[in-house]
Symmetry: C2
Subunit: 358 residues, 2 copies
């Protein structure tokens, strides 16, 4: 018998329909063959992107030249732009409300070599990526024109990636996105009633129960959310309370980078290198005191192994054919040796057969 | 410069980013080659589905035998089931809320021959389909265990179709879906303030403006919604006020069937037979007096020509690379002759070269 579950954070109901399931291998969609050919994001091709906004260059050196580990550049085809618009007034004609497309759209190039997934980088490089996320979030949140800053990644064509080389995108948008507004509202309501953070409460329950825990470290946890809308969704979140990604120490950045990278490796082992997305959910850019107290940042990782169809578009209701407890068990059960084997130990990639290009 | 637009009905903001656009032909994803092989939905294979719930048999004849134009059968792999559950109490343990998977899941087989899209049926057959939708909606809305009944269709694998033969699905769910709740709330609020239906107001504005109108008949209209989240989205809705699909005459069913079928033909001509979904949005099953007054049913047709990615999952915010006015113009400009050519005039299909199997 199927079960309905309600997400405690956003209030969305999902159908957990395990009769239709599915071992992980039945779900595999695959990313397709690597494309090959010229890549504008590889080291040496710095002149093929707009000039860099920021970069990690452990050995120093001039901007827009080789020697970097991470580069941040403007998106060449931005969906939004800050040019010449000091603010974003909403304009109404009858029922038609519009606002100018004011915002930012950056690309974070995450590896000098042609890696496709973050699991193909040595852990210290993925640590640089997380530190770069923190830096961009902090810098952009200071811009009063932006209501929200989202960092997200698309891996594989089925997940919306148009360029194969491992990169994330940062978008600063001038209005509060619906999903964030709904979560904020529920978190504020809970905080008002109970004086506590809803996420902290949910996480404490999850760690006590254990059945949906994928892995944990001193300061972070990876869990299968109780009412996941998609098979093998994972949340990675701090065990300490904070709504802002960059409210952590350098050591904690390294800690969450390792946990998250290993979690992605577990997902890739289980599902055979699926296309996936992740998005970092943080508090709005100019939170009120209460919003600051009640939100809790987290990364949401979504392997793209099922397709949205008419039911989902029509209702905002989702059918997940894999119980989150089952997904968590599969992910936990990936042997540590297999996780370690997927991730190169050195910047030269160490000759891993799985990733000849890494 | 991109523009943000807010959907007047559901309040969602979208980015209309036309710099990234795109002639319709650039968007074509295609449905892939027809699969061939055995089809359990074709006439003559009635014993390969569960026994029928309803059927249209203009010449009479026994159930589960040939001679039908439309058949309704239970889904062989239902996501929800009514068996043995008189009600659906919500159960909470800590933050974890669940409800039994009580509901219905039916399949409407829409053509005795192996059509893939509704445009491959003679108009009177698609009229039978619309009449069947009305019949199932009315029958299921009487069931007190269901909070909402959704009718939807998936055409093409990219749109989530697992069986190629033209069919729709009907799901009755025990809790109100998020999307419907949000629309209801906004419509109720508007009705309370202005004493009018929000949809009627929006439609009057659209018909007066004209730039997003695709086609209209005496009682119905097809429009590109002002803040469409996806390229070439079309709404078909009644020009008279009603929240319930089945509140129309037989002649009106034929009228909306023709308009909607011709609209699908326009979309297929513009985008080269894309995968698509449609969903019929109606009022909840047991509406209050105000809900009855303030909701307005409509069909939402979504060609699947762009892919959801991390930005959309992370925010509920969408980027549409085609201005709705541009989509409407392309759709309007499809010559009537091309629309007529796509749709067979007789049940034998009339030897249309485009659809050798219809």
């Amino acid at each position: 018998m199927a079960e309905l579950r309600q997400d405690p954070i956003c209030g969305r109901w999902v159908i957990i329909a395990t009769e239709r399931a599915a071992r992980p291998s039945d779900l595999a969609l695959g990313r397709g063959e690597p494309k090959g050919g010229f890549c504008p994001f590889c080291e040496g091709n710095e002149d093929r992107t707009p000039p860099e906004i920021a970069a990690v260059r452990p050995g120093g050196g001039p901007s827009n030249s080789p020697g970097w580990r991470v580069r941040v550049v403007p998106n060449k085809f931005p969906a939004l732009s800050l040019n010449g618009h000091p603010s974003a007034p909403v304009h109404s004609v009858g029922h038609r409300r519009t606002a100018p497309g004011v915002g930012t759209h950056e690309v974070i190039i995450e590896s000098p070599r042609h890696a496709i997934s973050p699991t193909q980088m040595p852990p210290e490089d993925f640590g640089h990526v997380i530190a770069t996320y923190c830096g961009r979030a902090e810098a952009l949140e200071a811009d009063e024109r932006l209501a929200y800053v989202l960092i997200f990644k698309n891996v594989g064509q089925e997940a919306g990636a148009s360029i194969e080389h491992c990169h994330s995108q940062v978008m600063g948008v001038p209005v509060m996105p619906r999903r964030v507004a709904v979560e904020m509202e529920r978190c504020e309501h809970f905080h008002q009633e109970h004086g506590r953070c809803l996420f902290c409460d949910v996480l404490a329950e999850e760690l006590a129960d254990g059945s949906r825990v994928v892995a944990q470290t001193e300061h972070f946890a990876a869990i299968s959310p109780f009412a996941a809308a998609f098979p093998f969704t994972v949340w990675v979140l701090p065990r300490f309370h904070t709504g802002r990604l960059y409210d952590m120490s350098g050591a904690q950045m390294g800690e969450v980078a390792r946990l998250f990278q290993q979690t992605m490796a577990r997902v890739e082992v289980c599902l055979g290198d699926p296309p996936f997305n992740y998005a970092i959910h943080t508090a709005p850019t100019a939170p009120t005191q209460r919003q600051r107290e009640c939100y809790h940042w987290h990364i949401e990782l979504i392997p793209r192994v099922t397709r949205m169809a008419g039911f989902e578009w029509g209702t905002g209701f989702y059918i997940n054919p894999v119980e989150p407890e089952t997904a968590a068990r599969y992910l936990r059960d990936v042997p540590a040796r297999q996780v370690a084997l997927k991730i190169p130990r050195h910047a030269d990639g160490g000759g891993h057969e799985q990733h000849p290009r890494s």
